[in-house]
């Protein structure tokens, strides 16, 4: 029997389950390596060469190089692991989260100060498809 995934119908959201984790295993483990200052320095000195040391797919490497976090997540990345890339770049969690929404940094910050993204209209995929 397949895993039950009732969360599939939440819009704009990827739940990091065992299937995602398997897909993104090495992408996420690469991110973990950036917890060491020496590895951060080596990555910054040559991103492509550092990525080539890892058994991750070309698509995953391109997503990392482009800092396309939505794409990284679609390819099995998890935000807490991907945050190590942001930390290496000196970006805050708010900058990283905002970068996935299609909003500018300033628009996103203002939305948060104004109370955040409302729940109304954001519970189910079909609510987004109507838009």
């Amino acid at each position: 029997m397949a895993l039950d995934k009732p969360y599939r119908d939440i819009p704009g959201t990827t739940i990091f389950d065992a299937d995602e984790s398997r897909k993104g295993y090495w992408l996420n483990q690469f991110c973990m390596s950036l917890m060491k200052a020496g590895n951060r320095a080596r990555f910054k000195a040559g991103e492509r060469a550092y990525l080539d040391e890892w058994p991750i797919t070309e698509a995953q490497k391109q997503a990392v190089l482009a800092r396309d976090l939505n794409r990284c997540i679609a390819l099995g990345g998890n935000i807490y692991f991907l945050a190590k890339i942001g930390a290496t770049d000196g970006r805050s969690f708010q900058q990283m989260a905002g970068s996935m929404t299609g909003m500018t940094e300033d628009e996103y910050r203002k939305m948060m100060v104004g109370g955040g993204r409302p729940i109304e209209g954001n519970r189910y995929r079909h609510e987004w498809e109507k838009k």
Binding site: P6, Y7, I10, P11, G12, T13, T14, I15, F16, D17, A18, S21, Y25, N28, Q29, C31, M32, L34, M35, K36, A37, R40, L69, N70, I73, N78, I79, Y80, F81, A83, K84, G86, A87, T88, S92, F93, Q94, M96, A97, G98, M100, T101, G102, Y108, M111, M112, V113, G115, G116, R117, P118, I119, N122, R123
Partner: protein
């Protein structure tokens, strides 16, 4: 005998730690957050525990994808501060209580809760931000801490029901420890937030406040909520709130005692991407 004197609940947003560490607490944006903890710092001075059993989640720092324990109890004498990628937070190391931790592990494992025992574990913002919020910036933390890490990063994560039952077992374990220690149980994480994808930034103020109401008055009912309700209504990272049910399960009323006293309640949006919730419940003596 040891006893659980109180429980505290708080969000553990990393940006709160950064604001403290970089001396930005007086900015108006952060005053609205830290103002909600002024009472709590005084309260903690007046109600100082010997040990805090601190329930939190690791954010891909101590645990990578190599090993994913559902419930991990820290039994070491001390715990170093993790380098999460920004360098370690400049806060004191965490001093554990190996004897009480081992006693709790033995008691609850024999009650069928299969904990992972961890003797080496760097602790991240999930654990240190709550300490900073309630203790300020001391040279050393004023009590010992037993870190208790819950997997809420990779699914499947434990159910609210299991967390609530585990909290009850932890209270029984504490109360069977011979030394007369005052123990607090803290539940951390939440409240509504989503850090990923096009829905990032989700906040659900009504849901959060209903969660606080029910945590106080109807924890057994609240413990029945399925995961899907947390993630749909409170965001993908809102699932962290199951950890609050461990601390709530450790309160005396769940075992037939009187209702706890609500010493403090605070709610504010936002801290970075997150709704900040905070609650202190005292057990009747």
């Amino acid at each position: 005998m040891a006893r659980v004197t109180a429980s505290a609940y708080t969000s553990h947003v990393p940006a709160i730690g950064a604001a403290l560490d970089h001396g930005r607490t007086h900015e108006p944006y952060w005053q609205k957050v830290f103002g909600g903890y002024e009472f709590s710092k005084d309260w903690l001075q007046a109600n100082r525990p010997d040990v805090v059993f601190l329930v939190y989640n690791d954010h891909a720092n101590a645990f990578s994808l190599e090993i994913i324990p559902t419930f991990a109890i820290g039994t070491a004498a001390e715990f170093a501060i993790a380098d999460e990628g920004w360098g370690p937070r400049p806060v004191p190391k965490v001093i554990g209580h190996p004897e009480l931790a081992a006693h709790i592990a033995q008691s609850v494992i024999q009650e069928d809760f299969d904990l992972t025992i961890v003797n080496r574990m760097d602790v991240d913002h999930g654990l240190t931000v709550p300490l900073s919020l309630l203790c300020g910036q001391p040279q050393a933390w004023p009590f010992r801490v037993i870190p208790f890490a819950v997997n809420v990063v990779q699914y499947p994560v434990p159910s609210g029901r299991r967390c609530f039952q585990l909290g009850q077992a932890i209270r029984r374990a504490v109360e069977s420890y011979d030394e007369p220690l005052r123990v607090q149980v803290w539940g951390t994480g939440g409240m509504s937030h989503q850090l990923q994808g096009p829905r990032a930034g989700l906040i659900n103020r009504e849901w959060d406040n209903r969660f606080l109401d029910r945590l106080i008055a109807d924890p057994a009912g609240l413990a029945q909520l399925p995961h899907i309700e947390y993630v749909r209504e409170a965001g993908s990272e809102g699932i962290e709130l199951v950890m609050w049910l461990i601390a709530r399960g450790a309160m005396g009323d769940v075992a037939g005692g009187p209702a706890p006293r609500v010493a403090h309640r605070f709610y504010h949006v936002p801290a970075s991407n997150t709704a900040v919730g905070h609650l202190i419940l005292e057990n009747a003596n």
